[in-house]
Amino acid sequence: MDPGRRDLLKLAALTTLVGCAHVPPQPSQASPPDRKTTVLFQPLLTLRLTTAATQDIGAVPYGRRVTFPIIGGSFEGARLRGEVLSGGDDWTVKRSDGVLELDARLTLRTEDGVLIHTTFDGIRDDAAPGAPYFRTRFRFETADPKYAFLNRLLAVGTGEIRADGPVHVVEEIL
């Protein structure tokens, strides 16, 4: 790891720790076991998707299956930005317990022309306290050395359905 990136990670770690201090303590945390390690996050990108008319497959053995074709969009972060190519999809299933499972594949194209294969899955629980609980897990694949850091990280996202389509705020797991 180069020194510059290490400093960046440290800074992000501090920022995240400060952020965590505002989380109200939970009663269930009265006697937490020892933490061996700590999980920290750093903003990666915000992904805005444009979807076409849904394909309502209907009641399948796993629940109600609805496919959302992805026809475009954009993404932006400190280290990468660009557009979402048409041709991806989010294959969703609403489970018997009411939770929506997401399973998406799409291609990003950076502003300098690099294609990034992107997959994410996750859940949206509209019955959760403070609902919806809309969280995702992202992975990326690219052949371009400039963006190879994406091959080596895991990321998680917070989703939101807006009038013009879904928006995912994606953070790298440090």
Partner: protein
Amino acid sequence: MNSRLLMTLQVVVEGAQKIGAVPYGTRVTAPISGGRFEGPRLRGRVVPGGGDWTLLRTDGVLELDLRLTLETDDGALIHMSSFGLRHGPADVIAALGRGERVDPSAYYFRTTPRFETAHPKYGFLNRLLAVSSGDRRAEGPIYTIDELL
């Protein structure tokens, strides 16, 4: 993203099966013979029989694909699956390979667990995503698992 501790999980790995060079990289399967987990809302043991199906990619990143069964101290079974990545400086990875104790902050070892259970008391696990940070020990990894809030 805010998260909070869900549990620490210690897994005992025995008898690595070196499958060898496959089209995607070098595959080693690590059978799980037991372990323990403990958190504010659940604790218990790891049922023998799970495994971590690992693949060392050509770019030096180790992909982890873990499946195991947790049994809580009140008898509920929980299916856990977890995809992860592990990589770091060559000397650090070599030390891990020799079974040496290494500061886990010296390498990247992160996973994203999911859980499935039929037990109503633990139904909240069906409805959350989690992330973990791993500490690779010679006898098996220790994961600090946070739920995403």
